[in-house]
Subunit: 119 residues, 4 copies
């Protein structure tokens, strides 16, 4: 499980990997955002033809494949975020605060409508 | 900065947020994978018309907007991963090991070709 | 309905629209491919939280919204294809021939597995 | 080149292809929208690491590969649109009228800012 060292370790490992290969020249934020979208599409492909129920089940979802693709998304998200000194976990915690205000429990409970419908 | 508590805290906060709103019913892995793709497209939109150089610059990239969207991607990635007991940071560390073997320094240094070209 | 003039008319209208606005400078194929992905995500957003059954129904899908987004995808697809003198309709007809060979009826009938499973 | 028969022919061929394989059961609009996004990501992958200038050039872009992927996008777009009796070419022509009003020449000439900036 993730401990205090894991996220820092990931950033360091990506940094070494990229500089050893001299790949920073390809890693403009625009290119990283493109790569992130492509990797997300590869996750989506895993669920493409499954029903919503099947998508819950290890009978239909290859765990190793999904884990690899989640890893790829996390790698590109971290690489992109680092370019702007953003910590994705802290960014998510901040966004949760915003979401709590955008979607007040009493208005959205059990509903999936977009928040804009409640403005 | 992320410390030992941050990632666990994020998982817990998402869990509370979702259960308070009774939204788990909408959170099939297939729906979460769709949501992840949509949020990545919102990151991509930030860089849509910029040159690669402009995408590096805070003159052209709105930091707050980017941080919010990175937060959204991290939230959906964590929510999806949790459904399969996958830790995205550990998944990324494991994928880095695979990447190191797929892209040996001596073959790919300074080149952006897909790894399959080196097989 | 589409008649012999419609597709040519679309190409001409896009050409005029872009040149009047001096927007060809932003329309590198890479930028157009990004825009195409963003517009597809906007279609996806229409179906984000619907069940597969709900996605069939005009009770849950806003026709006007969907028509607009399909229009946007078609506009960017045509603009990108034109850069390489590709006709998207002819490209689709050619791809249908390939698909017929990749997915022989006797092997795939009633199955959604990826073609690679049948190789 | 596309003539009066091409687009109708495409719709008919897709219809035959799907019914011969009994695949309509998988073709909920939600699944088709997912497939459309995945195919767009495959176009994006062609341009992933190219500069904007390189993306213009047949030295860097494999024509056959691009034509195939454009074909795939057009096939899914047509299949999805048909579910709602939408003609993608007519939808694009209607959207062009909207775009002409959203982006008046005198306000946006030579600028790529989103239309919302001009409201």
């Amino acid at each position: 499980m993730t401990n205090e060292h894991s996220f820092k370790k990931l950033g360091d490992e990506i940094g070494d990997f990229v500089s050893e290969r001299d790949w920073d020249q390809f890693h403009s934020p625009k290119n990283l955002a493109i790569s992130l979208s492509i990797e997300c599409a590869e996750i989506l492909e895993i669920f493409q033809w499954l029903t919503l129920d099947q998508s819950e089940s290890s009978d239909h979802v290859n765990f190793q494949h999904l884990q690899d693709e989640i890893g790829d998304v996390m790698i590109y998200l971290t690489t992109l975020a680092k370019k702007f000194n953003i910590d994705p976990i802290e960014a998510a915690l901040k966004k949760m605060e915003i979401n709590r205000q955008k979607y007040p429990v009493e208005l959205v409970k059990g509903k999936s409508d977009k928040y804009s419908n409640y403005k």
